[in-house]
Symmetry: C2
Amino acid sequence: MSLKHAILGFLSFQPMTGYDLKKAFDHSVQFFWPANQSQIYRTLADLNEEGLVKLEIIAREERLDMKIYHLTIAGQAEFHRWLSTPLPHQDYREAFLIQVYFGGKIGDPETILLLQHMIQDVESALAQLVAMYQIYMEKIEQADARRDLFFNMLTLEYGISSNQAALNWLNSVQDRLKAGSYSPLELKDLTR
Amino acid sequence: MSLKHAILGFLSFQPMTGYDLKKAFDHSVQFFWPANQSQIYRTLADLNEEGLVKLEIIAREERLDMKIYHLTIAGQAEFHRWLSTPLPHQDYREAFLIQVYFGGKIGDPETILLLQHMIQDVESALAQLVAMYQIYMEKIEQADARRDLFFNMLTLEYGISSNQAALNWLNSVQDRLKAGSYSPLELKDLTR
DNA sequence: CTGTCCATGTAAGGCGTTACATGATTGT
DNA sequence: ACAATCATGTAACGCCTTACATGGACAG
């Protein structure tokens, strides 16, 4: 369960509330592991039952108690175990490719429209990732925690290069359809 | 709901049983939309309730009836509607990137091990896709349904180039860690 | 005679999403 | 005065996974 371990990961930097965790997700791992609020609260309850986190309760009259979650020793151990254990192979789902797969069933103009939407999506995702990357670039210049930042940036590198690959492919498909050419690419152009 | 529409897509070529559909998935869209058997049967039941498919029942004494699913007119219409409608943006989840993100918490040797496992996974996925691609390449040479095959191949192109991008990144990370260098890549090397 | 293929499903559980619900504090 | 932020959760639903269950036909 990756969400559990991502939470443990954040708590290993510092104790936090569920609310803080939600923000931490949104500002960092969001693009490869989004988490919504209700999920975070439920998972924190689970982690507590499993003894991987413990909570410090701050009573506030007239409001719900504030709960600050801390890693336990067991939580730390579990996080380290997970962090150095290869994950089983993961399935990917790309609904858009289903549309492409059956593209023969509709006309090229319709497919080109779909591609254009997709291109916009990917371009805006790419722009966001690039913007984040540039911020990191500045931060890493004069940083103490250079090594930590480096690993954070690696995920952005992944995001940028995979979105770039998708974009290149989308453009190539669009070009071919516009040219009325139904020619697959050469393998050697795909693998490099 | 993409599974529903993928099923409609397959049925638009020819009527099939649930069993046939499972095989169709496994031999074609598996790598970007895996579907398991129980899911397919349940979804077929739903499609039937919605009037998008109808079933021809073949009674076989001493065994469960065999059910051949046909698209209805409504099913065809719904499939075409879906096929030419842009999909809302999709979230992606890459558990492996969570491990990378928190890579600073463990030592480089452990991370390198994780990378090596990942590289193996990606390489074998890539090899499978390339093999499928080559089979298609031969088929498309002397085909009547050249256009349909072309769209099928496009999804493989996508799979190959995105896996290749992932592989390049994995190797680059591994090289840097082995060299003890915590330097992010230049943006210009990522976007092209 | 053993295993794989054909062909059907049910049951239970896990993870994620969306919508609902509350209420104080801080900023414009 | 109004909106956004801080801070907590619950309920219901949807999709997917894993395991379980049945049984004939056919090939080695």
